[in-house]
Symmetry: C3
Subunit: 357 residues, 3 copies
């Protein structure tokens, strides 16, 4: 029933993660430091607790080739114009860190006009973050004048506020997302629908780091990351390379999903063979009472704007294989809202079954 083929995983870390002080392997600091962004941010309004930005990045909003299946307009954020994608780069912060992001709007005017339904609505793109702290000037909305007209740029400041044990205020560690809030209308509906969104992970000091991070946005038209099967899983079965549409891990690796709800519909996120504690990190430690209280789940409802993290240990107890990841709304999964987590064995060998390999 089984044959095995040796595969080489050239890239063991998803390379579009933009990390902070604890740099992700393969990510050079020079690529992610936006000197101009930090300079611009020094004179801008900053959320309380952010004395000065700790680092800066440039982010480009561009138009990408139309969706090959539907012909729909696609926009994307990228650390460079050429590397823009949907979802955009996953941004990672550590509590206590303050980040300056200079957004450059390179989306053609005609495209933005086409996406607008109300001619009185301004055209532009913006950056609106969930979870982190920002002043009105970094809200990314029209009413706060914090968006970017065509050809322009603007520096946003996000603060990953830490927990304050004295006043009991919670920190900002969590699984979040960022998105446009302007394209098409005052809620950025067309910006999100065309691809202007990405994952945002804020870690707490001491959090265990995952080996891999995958962002999965569950959205309209039964799509995962705006794609549906078979586009939702573009892995080469002979040589699966980790990427936003190819979920791969080796046995035993800690895999982190950043699950985002976008659009207009409800969805449920289900992974075969794996489960996670319904906590901030997917783990639970501590007293017996705490451990006994926390539910463990393998299926979780999310609505638009909701985000959560699901950390699993790939193949834990269940072994390697091709494990389904899908929405459990039956008509959604039947219409293609399904992909696969390919778990290779400890040597990077893919498992095949019968005539399905």
């Amino acid at each position: 029933m089984k044959t095995r083929r040796l595969l080489v995983l050239a890239v063991v870390t998803v390379t579009f993660v933009v990390a902070g002080g604890n740099a992700v392997a393969g990510q050079k600091a020079s690529q992610v430091t936006g000197v101009n962004a930090i300079a611009a941010a020094r004179s801008a309004e900053r959320p309380q607790g952010c004395v000065a930005p700790d680092r800066g990045i440039d982010l480009y909003a561009v138009e990408l080739p139309k969706d090959p299946v539907t012909g729909q307009v696609r926009l994307g954020y990228g650390l460079t114009p050429l590397s823009a994608s949907y979802p955009g780069p996953t941004i990672e912060m550590i509590e206590g860190e303050c980040l300056a992001i200079t957004l450059h709007n390179q989306v053609p005017v005609a495209t933005l006009e086409q996406l607008r339904t109300d001619p009185k609505h301004p055209i532009g793109v913006s950056l609106h973050a969930h979870g982190v702290k920002y002043t009105q000037m970094s809200d990314g909305t029209v009413h706060s004048d914090s968006y970017v007209p065509p050809g322009g740029s603007r520096t946003y400041i996000w603060f990953a506020k830490p927990r304050n044990a004295n006043d009991g205020s919670q920190g900002t560690a969590g699984y979040w997302w960022y998105h446009d809030h302007v394209v098409g209308g005052p809620h950025g509906t067309q910006g999100i629908a065309t691809g202007l969104f990405g994952g945002l992970v804020v870690r707490r000091q001491g959090d265990q780091r995952p080996d891999r991070t995958y962002v999965l946005a569950f959205g309209d038209r039964q799509t995962i990351n705006l794609r549906r099967s078979p586009e939702a899983d573009t892995c080469d079965p002979q040589n699966p390379q980790p990427g936003p549409t190819c979920l791969v891990a080796r046995l035993g690796e800690r895999v982190e999903f950043v699950v985002i709800g976008i659009g207009n519909d409800m969805h449920t996120f289900h992974v075969h063979g794996h489960s996670w504690a319904d906590t901030r990190t997917g783990r639970v430690d501590g007293s017996k009472q705490l451990v006994d209280s926390v539910p463990v789940v393998d299926n979780k409802t999310l609505g638009p704007g909701d985000t959560f993290g699901a950390q699993i240990v790939a193949g834990d107890s269940v072994g390697p294989g091709h494990w389904m990841v899908h929405c459990h709304m039956q008509f959604h999964s039947d219409l293609g809202m399904s992909t696969t987590l390919h778990i290779l064995d400890e040597n990077g060998v893919v498992l095949t079954h019968g005539n399905h390999g």
Copy 2:
């Protein structure tokens, strides 16, 4: 970019909160004590643990002017007939307290008949509570004969049962709601849809009290409190006065949202710039493991009948401003399911941006 205008916040507490022993400022005990209700309750069936009602209130169900935009029938509960509103008065209890509520049905017979689809269904209004304890006689349903015919009155008894550490039973502290369960049909669908609902907050001894409480019911037709933009935010920008359709706070105040799902649709509740721990109170204290386990959120799904509290510190780290509060289902927000939390600075000065002030 900024100009400031001095505003006076005459009313710093939302006045329709009906509090218990720790009376809300501006709320005279004489207004909320229903001597008749307590007397009536002494002979009624009581939930176990309620020896006698600690206090009583009168509640009036009346017809209000039709919705000015849609022309729909509007009903409301009020502590007096003239003060009835939708949502009705927010009722606050402390664990251990037993409350007698005498409901007076002053809704015209013709209106109740008009809202009924089945001529065999009785006409009347009722009071059904979530979270607190009540016997069948206070269930507010037709099959238990616990509703109020036109012109009648009936005393309901609610018990905010405390936690019993001995048997491990949980208490009733939480964010709840009350609503009609009879108008139009056996589930009170027309009663809820026309306005017969309100928030119910049960506190635990030692809970930190908020400075302000706002009830936000997310419902059908993309409405917040049965209103949609611009009706969802009726603040005078020159002089915003706190009220059910005008969300205002000063910098640093603890603001509590009671979020209620009503009707037939799913929604998500999102606040810009603010987040809260996904706990009973919105705070989390205790061991590092507990604090590390609890997710912090700024967007939360709710279905009909769901309720939760979201306590935030107004402007914490992010400063004053006009912060969006909206459903993140994109077509809902685009169709007006959006309002604003106006956060004034510590002196009560409103922040204005560019030409939007």
Copy 3:
């Protein structure tokens, strides 16, 4: 207002619970031990941690009489072909236990062909579990060749992996379900829709056992367990016998609901007069901070594939009576998505109200 009639509860435990070492009263071990299943499992692939199955059961998938109201096809799982039902038998495990289940496909070929929309899709039935651990060979999917053709049988192995305190991995204790993943298409949409599903409860050592367990699947067409009112509540009011469509308990009994979302729609689960802690077990014990953090709910949203447990103490504080259990989406409850929890007094006497008894 009240009359009382003496009722005898002949069966105090729901008999379709298939328990492990701690056998449920009235359930003979010989009925639930599948010697053949264990033998078959010894040579099969097993999840890590399962040295050998601790016990085995046989499970039969059969066609049942068509739904008497809608005329729809109905399938069911049963411990014997004659006892098949929808939902199927509730399976109970203890963390650490390994279970072998031999599934026998006795559904007629013509029925499976009729349920298939794509002629290229294979016909068969399968068993896919949530929460517990299983290898690809027990995934119950087409792509893993782990389904059962007509007339065949196959042994699945599930491992209720315990928590590992050393590596912090969570256990599998929780409220889950099992279902077909093959009938009609690659996600088993028609299998689930016709009745091939059941509840799966994994307990942790030390968990308090309930006195009764009821499985309630909330699904399409406003159904509870594929039935809607009055079929959702088939109790004889003179002599209510506990069963999947007759929810009965005595005052003070611990009642456990296994709530499952199936199909395509969102629902909310609401119980009148009762509430539970939103934890793994419905209880919360431990430090004051933990107890203060955990929300208590009486209404909970669930999407397809979601499952949770809700343990309540029948009539706690509120007394006996006929307590509604319904979806709080108003049009769902209005269309019959509602049933009743009949709570008898400590002597097994049913409470009647007015002319409703």
